[in-house]
Symmetry: C2
Subunit: 255 residues, 2 copies
């Protein structure tokens, strides 16, 4: 049984706690937060504390706090040479205090507080400085049911950046689709099957091959029609830039 202490009370921390509750290989022996009252709902399930000096001994300490707070919290830990990881996509593993055995468990998924999370669908990217720490971190990730992948800092940084494109930016395109349809009294819901199909299509086809539409075909007439339809200058700018982007990718435009 691997003993774990979780530090932080945000979405990642909470989903990790709930995930570990279901495993037989990992036991959360303590949950720390600066403000212990946010952990109150869980205090019948686990020892909670707001006192770093009272931290229990454990095989692994998981820091799941906001990016800006990781470094300082790691320095405040009242011990050394213990295995401590953070869960951020963009913070360096070297931002953890060097008195510690350092690593990263980066779950590549979008965490909402409300939504239920199935760790089967959350790849966990593992990074360690000390190779010896890897097997334990892998065991912890596997216990959650997650696919795991050992990566380095550059790969983690680039995955975090790419995640912004495929998640945040994609969601903003859904938002623009929502604005455009509702402005004419059309139902955004009619687009949902298409949205799902677009995401499912790349399961076994590259996004390059999966592309269709007027920009890919360089169908100037339809593109012109669409630009004329858009009265929001900002939507127009997005249309133009992404049409341009598709043209570049598909050789419709000289680079």
């Amino acid at each position: 049984m691997i003993s774990v202490v979780i530090l932080g009370a945000g979405n990642v921390a909470t989903h990790l706690f709930k995930g570990f509750e279901k495993t037989n290989d990992v036991s959360v022996v303590q949950w720390y937060n600066r403000n212990a009252s946010s952990l109150q709902p869980y205090s019948h399930l686990v020892d909670v504390t707001d006192n770093l000096e009272a931290l229990k001994d454990a095989d692994l300490y998981i820091i799941a706090v906001s990016d800006d707070a990781i470094s300082e919290l790691s320095s405040s830990l009242p011990f050394k040479d213990k295995l401590v990881v953070h869960t951020s996509g963009s913070v360096s593993v070297y931002d953890l205090d060097m008195k510690l055995k350092r690593g990263v468990l980066y779950p590549l998924q979008s965490f909402s507080k409300a939504a239920k999370l199935d760790f089967d669908n959350v790849p966990i990217c593992i990074e360690t400085i000390d190779k010896k720490s890897y097997p334990l971190l892998k065991k912890v990730a596997v216990s959650l049911g997650s696919p795991t992948k050992r990566i380095n800092s550059d790969q983690r940084r680039v995955l975090h950046l790419a995640a912004v494109f495929v998640n945040n930016f994609t969601n903003q395109l859904y938002r623009i689709g929502h604005e455009i349809t509702e402005s004419e009294g059309a139902e955004f819901d009619l687009l949902k099957p298409l949205i799902k199909e677009t995401a499912n299509k790349i399961e076994d086809m590259s996004p390059f091959k999966a592309q269709t539409g007027p920009a890919k075909r360089n169908d100037k007439k339809t593109i012109k029609k669409h630009l004329k339809q858009l009265d929001n200058e900002h939507h127009k700018a997005v249309y133009e830039l992404l049409t341009d982007s598709i043209k570049r990718t598909h050789g419709r435009k000289k680079l």
Copy 2:
């Protein structure tokens, strides 16, 4: 039994033919294409022709050819007062020759030749000039298993435009994610669960509520880091514009 003639041999025509083959309510009595040889693989299943003068009598004629060819083909039809629809998202119903009873059956989905298509996931938007044509078109769409929605031309145009945002542009963001990850030897596959979750999340949450990430939080430090990471000027432009777009939507930026 509703009798149908299909005109055209592209993706939409082919998927419609295959869809109708499975129903008991619609019978495809003939399939026309300018070049009959592309229909040869189906000639044991249906009467095929390249001769407009030889068109059979039917309850409905479905023109599923490229946008530019719809108007001319409708004018070439050697009859009048029969029900003729096209399947385009962006062509006006009035582009069909006025000698005909005119309508539109617009399937709102991305059609690939290879990919199997389940019409359960293809909303069909119905438009008619003559109200009396509506029940038959609805029956035809329902026979395929599709959800249907009666819409007007403005709504169809706007759905077609929004589809470009949520399908073509989204797919291009996947492509950029692919380029970024592969450039560092990271696996694009690790992002696929996140891509699916992003699409699934809006099933019962508005894209506005579903948004997360550095732009939404106005996390300047991470945004700056990301921009520094991007060495492709074009990817940088997409990052900047969509970050700006999210900030506008979420009140992080004065309009």
